[in-house]
Subunit: 228 residues, 2 copies
Amino acid sequence: AILAAAKAMLRDGPLRGKRILVTSGPTHEPIDPVRYIANRSSGAQGTAIAEALSALGAEVVFVTGPADTPRPISAEVVEVETARQMAAAVDAALPCDAAVFCAAVADWHVVGAGSSKIKKDGTGAPPGFELAENPDILATVSRGDKRPRLVVGFAAETDDVIAHATAKRKRKGCDWIVANDVSPATGIMGGTQNAAILITAEGADPWLRMSKAETAATLAARMAEALT
Amino acid sequence: AILAAAKAMLRDGPLRGKRILVTSGPTHEPIDPVRYIANRSSGAQGTAIAEALSALGAEVVFVTGPADTPRPISAEVVEVETARQMAAAVDAALPCDAAVFCAAVADWHVVGAGSSKIKKDGTGAPPGFELAENPDILATVSRGDKRPRLVVGFAAETDDVIAHATAKRKRKGCDWIVANDVSPATGIMGGTQNAAILITAEGADPWLRMSKAETAATLAARMAEALT
């Protein structure tokens, strides 16, 4: 806490005075007390982005699901488990000057996730559980009353990366999409590198393959340009 | 590796010369390249049991799913992701003198888990994915040709703990069941303590609430009695 306070006093850079929200990590959607549905996300990219924005002087609010990566020491950290909890934490963190939605949020949750463990019934028949759509945090914020000036989404794609990410930018109403090819062959998912493509209203800007820290620094610098 | 070799040379105790298999951690069952179904298991209890058995002189083979806990430094470690991979690794590790099945293995896997990310189709309808039963590792080993002399299963229960665990012991054909009440109110799941009940042919022996290291030491001592 003392370290954070000292950092805040020393905070300087092009993003000084800007409050930026970063979401990170996976969400876990309970099936029953011992099982859940998860997204693969270490949280490494989100933590790197929060650190990079702080390094440029921003005040960062970091809303994270249960990720393995250490939390950014320079940010205000809010821990959540499910997509619905993340949506509520995001809403509570607004207004902000910018928001980066880096979390791998589950699209669905299990309806009526129970407090008793689901048992095999001996017939070999699998359990039925009903899925329902989670709130779409990126679209909700992009079209909401408290919309930050700059809204950045992420897209993890396995096919037709630019086409899917460009369509996603329009569908969600955000300003930028950072698109990644996460097909297993790339080794990006769970790895240390990234090969991102920035999708803006002007088109697609493919970045070189670089570390997640460099990707974060590149994005933070672009955001500083756009916000100042 | 040098430390492990030194430990092996120094290895002594009642379980010296016994080869014991320990499974640990959750399994992850892929839905698509970015999503999976998981069990809540930190792997802490399994690592503690492997260390306790090694401390009594056993040679431990440790088959683990993707767990957060550090692996036991005293064991031969085999890393797997899915229940089917765990079943194969267990079969490959036999014969053994004893086996402790501490892993939280998924009961089901997703049939035809794809290499492309499942997309929302805009209708709000959830995706259909078909579940199929995984191999029952505990029952397969307990009734198999390579059955160890002492087979110990674990049961994580939320209701009627003793009745469910006693029925599980008979149904699986194992010798002992270590039963835990994991209903959310107990705080055991993800916590540092355990309140186990040992189910044997003689009945139910409830242990005091103790740390996972103490639970492991208690189980290892009981196993040493039974095997020597």
